[in-house]
């Protein structure tokens, strides 16, 4: 060890006896230039499209998608290549990203997305990483070519002008709205919202005692038998159920809900006159009077439909109940605020009534990137915090006192 230090010390500190100073400096200078140029060439080589698509996963999965978009082929022939969007342009961030690529090399060696199926399963994770990156830097890479201050809004279609002028005034990150502009949008249906993990783990640890009411944290299948083999329907998230008993892996729960006395009567709702879907049963089961207990019947004056108060018990897998519905609403509220305020200020939950929300929500959810599970929870949140339930100036205070008048 000491020999090593002495060696290096001598190498740097002992003056050269034979070779001239100028020779040494010039030689060092030339070596430096060659090294630096070599480094830059290597950086550029790994920044070329050919390099990116030399991996089969990129070539087979992403290249065909890119080729269908305007960033590949367009009227003016000005196009973007892989690094233009995906590699930061400034030196520090670029080098950091290049080192981060060691993870991609690892993935290539291990085959993390080696097959089409593995890729499709994993792509939402990859997409969310990129969306987070674009969101954090305000879509800086897009602005290398598409800067707001250089945009001529008058040349856009009228509908686009409205959205774009708003975005420009907020200096909004491009990818907030333009997700999937260069590749296909990942299938949002199967996407996981990590916020639900905390709910699921609290539900797993929830102590459940018979005779008490609990709330579902995830949608669950309902079964007729303790062995959970005969599926008879499903129960929605945030639905209130009363637990009757727990046997092994299964729990017997009681559903006390309302349904419309029309057709099979298999969609069950949380409150009278309000379309808050709480459970859906199979046709035969819904019509089975031994299974379904009809307690009461009432006409909804708004529509003239007869609603029945119904009760039934069914088995479901245990481990998905919590004793308070508020944690679910907290997640729903957060999702609502982030997803629905990107393009416009989000409406107050109590601005609309319960039965108006599904239509509105259905028309808007396509503009967001909410996955199906999150979307259902948010809709239920909106409905249960709508004007029918709210005590703010918007609301009636409770469903019973909601004044339902048909307009003349």
């Amino acid at each position: 060890m000491r020999k090593l230090f002495r060696f290096i010390g001598d190498l740097f500190l002992r003056p050269s006896v034979r070779i001239g100073l100028g020779v040494l400096v010039t030689g060092g200078f030339i070596a430096g230039v060659i090294s630096w140029q070599g480094f830059n060439t290597a950086m550029e080589a790994t920044n070329k499209e050919e390099f990116c698509i030399s991996c089969h996963t990129m070539h087979d999965n992403l290249l065909p998608e890119l080729q269908k978009t305007v960033h590949w082929n367009n009227r003016t022939g000005v196009r973007a290549r892989c690094p233009d969007c995906h590699v930061p342009h400034n030196f520090t961030d670029k080098v950091a990203r290049k080192m981060q690529a060691s993870r991609e090399v690892w993935g290539h060696l291990v085959g993390t997305i080696g097959t089409r199926e593995k890729f499709k399963e994993h792509r939402i994770v990859l997409a969310q990483r990129e969306w987070a990156r674009f969101s954090a830097n305000g879509s800086k890479e897009c602005r290398a070519c598409h800067d707001y201050k250089d945009m001529n809004f008058d040349k856009m279609r009228p509908t686009s002008q409205v959205a774009m002028r708003n975005a420009a005034s907020r200096n909004q990150s491009c990818v907030d709205c333009h997700k999937g502009v260069a590749h296909q949008l990942p299938e949002m249906k199967g996407a996981r919202n990590p916020a639900f993990d905390t709910l699921v783990s609290s539900a797993a640890g929830q102590g459940v005692s018979a005779g008490n009411d609990y709330y579902l944290v995830v949608p669950q299948d309902l079964y007729a038998d303790e062995g959970l083999t005969q599926r008879i329907g499903s129960v929605e998230v945030a639905t209130q159920v009363k637990v009757l008993e727990t046997k092994g892996d299964a729990q017997r729960v009681e559903l006390a809900l309302w349904r419309k006395n029309k057709g099979y009567g298999r969609v069950w709702y949380g409150s009278f006159g309000l379309n808050i879907t709480s459970a859906i049963l199979n046709k035969e089961v819904a019509q089975d009077t031994s299974f379904v207990n009809v307690l009461d019947s009432k006409e909804d004056t708004m529509t003239g439909l007869e609603w029945q108060q119904v009760k039934a018990t069914a088995w479901m897998r245990k481990g998905s109940l919590i004793d308070s519905v508020e944690p679910i609403w907290t997640i729903a509220r957060a999702s609502y605020s982030t997803s629905c305020s990107v393009c416009h200020r989000q409406p107050e939950e109590a601005h609309f009534d319960t039965n108006t929300w599904p239509g509105l929500f259905g028309g808007m959810v396509g503009f967001t990137s909410m996955d199906q599970d999150t979307a259902r929870v948010v809709l239920k949140y909106l409905q249960t915090h709508s004007s029918d339930f709210s005590t703010t100036q918007h609301g009636a205070g409770s469903p019973e006192s909601a004044l339902q008048t048909a307009r003349p």
Binding site: R18, I19, A31, S35, T92, V95, A96
Partner: protein
């Protein structure tokens, strides 16, 4: 006396293939050692910035 002697012995050791040693050290250092050290420094810089971005600062804004 002592320093003179050690200087002389160093000189003596040097003259045995001395200039060849010098040239070799120069070439290896300039074209191999320092470029490798430069790449190593940049790689380390990249990793440090990456880990800082992951754990401390968040992605570039």
């Amino acid at each position: 006396m002592k320093t003179q002697q050690s200087a002389a012995s160093v000189m003596a050791a040097d003259t045995k293939g001395g200039s060849r040693n010098d040239w070799r050290a120069f070439l290896l250092l300039a074209f191999v050692g320092l470029p490798v050290a430069m790449v190593g420094a940049i790689v380390t810089y990249g990793f440090v910035v990456w880990f800082l971005q992951m754990a401390v600062f968040g992605p570039p804004s």
